[in-house]
Amino acid sequence: MLPLLRHTRYVLSENPVTGLAFGLFALFVLAALLGPAVAPYSPLQTDAASALKPPSAAHWFGTDQLGRDIFSRVLIATRLDLSIAFASVVLAFALGALSGVAAGYFGGWTDIVVGRLADTIMAFPLFVLAMGIVAALGNEVINIVIATGVINFPLYARVARAEANVRRDSGFVEAARLSGNGEARVLLGHILPNIMPIMMVQMSLTMGYAILNAAGLSFIGLGVRPPAPEWGIMVAEGANFIQSGEWWIALFPGATLMMAVFCFNLLGDGLRDIIDPRQRT
């Protein structure tokens, strides 16, 4: 544990941007947890008198066409956006890691079926497939999670397969098998924990993409429905006002979305440097 901490400190001092990403991450988590409690206004409270006002001391990010406070809406949307992304990443991990580890460990038919499934998903432009899935399953938030999880599944399956394949004849696996563990136990109790660090990096790297994907789907009107505060929908609402110069409605949710994706991408790179130094760029 100590060498890992020392290495983490080294990576952080080497690359201050990673430290920044961790700070930003903490901020987003805090906003997701406390958002509704600390937001100055209700996200749904309309106020015709103060509609379309630019940022001011009372409304830091201005107000939208219905007079709702954009700062409160952006803040409160954090929980929904991060939850969708996180749930979809967990789903992709559950599907991908289990099937990938099994494919790499057993080989043969399992490998062929999992590989074929992953290839078929990868044969679609991913965002387009996500659109198709949400359109078919119905316009619900849970279906955004499913669609985003499914399109990310091949990435996890491939990494897990490769890593499990390398380890299937290694010493600790042989030892586990010799001491009488069943196949399932070897797989879930020995190989899976062993590849967890690499999967964690993958999760962090795909988190940014998952946020982008979910926001993109809501931007075109899939999944989250107005008036629920969500970054993608807020940008879509603001899009109608860009041409008349009311920039703040789209800019603040859009910029927050960008910061969130940026933060997770940097975090993923940083985690990879810490956990898997060979992959450093």
């Binding site: 078929t120 009107g221 008349s244 991408n265």
Partner: protein
Amino acid sequence: MLSLLLSRLATAIPSIIGVVIVTFMLTHLLPGDPAAYFAGLAASPQAIAEVRAKLGLDKSLPEQFIVYVHDLFTGNLGNSLSTGQSVVHEIATRLPASAELTLTALILAVAIAIPLGVLAAVKQGTWIDHLCRVVTTAGVSLPVFFTGLLLAYIFYYLLQVAPAPTGRLDAFLSPPTDITGFYVIDSILTGNLETLWGSLRQLALPAISMAIFSLAPLARMTRGSMLAILGSDFIRTARASGLAPRTVIFSYAFRNAVLPVITTLGMVFSFLLGANVLIETVFAWPGIGLYAVNALLTSDYAPVQGFVLIMAVLYIALNLTIDFVYGLVDPRVRLD
């Protein structure tokens, strides 16, 4: 050459089969009643029953699949509810608009990303290397619909140098004679300079937004593979033999480094085809992405399913082309 082409074509067949099965599943196997979907929201039970019989949904699943595949082979993707036109026709008329936008974005992205990546690798650790890193990290983090809006705000509203972000051509200009369907090429062919200028101006902002989003993986891969090649023995030998730096970088290093970049193009196309939908929505670009989004909003499902299938087939075709080009560029691939 021919055998290379055939072997590549053969690898695409499983993908095509997979794609057809998945799109079939998206239409037929899902919770809810597809007949109700296709009949629309306000349909009466009788209308739904009619649609069910018409779509063959009262048959067994394998039978339905055979009908579906037969329809595909005869080029039938169903009809759009809102316009009553066949989906194939609607998509075919809109495809050139999307293709023009996507290809322009790709050309822009390649034209910026490859020189940037090469320069970043050659001048490692200098400002251009840092610029490359910022561009690649920021590029993938920018939501493409947000970039589009931002550019529209800056260049249309603030600076007033760009035209209104709606459509392929200003309302005062008439589209060029339809030859290829690409406004830029058609207006060049017909010598219509006014339309050429008009269509280029409309094309600029959406294409740039998409290029920013997709150049990141290209630049990152170019830099990485150039660095790896520049550190290898044969480059050291070439340098030691006194070859000009230009020859070493371009004839020796770049020709080898470009191979992984070509492979990355597959991923870039996946990004671009997805970004295409969002950007067409932002700029009211009359392509297949906007068509699919409008169909989605009116719960008109046949166009959406047709769109997903056609995008997937296009993507497979693009990947096939990339594979084939890779085979042509890298002589080693042809041996196996």
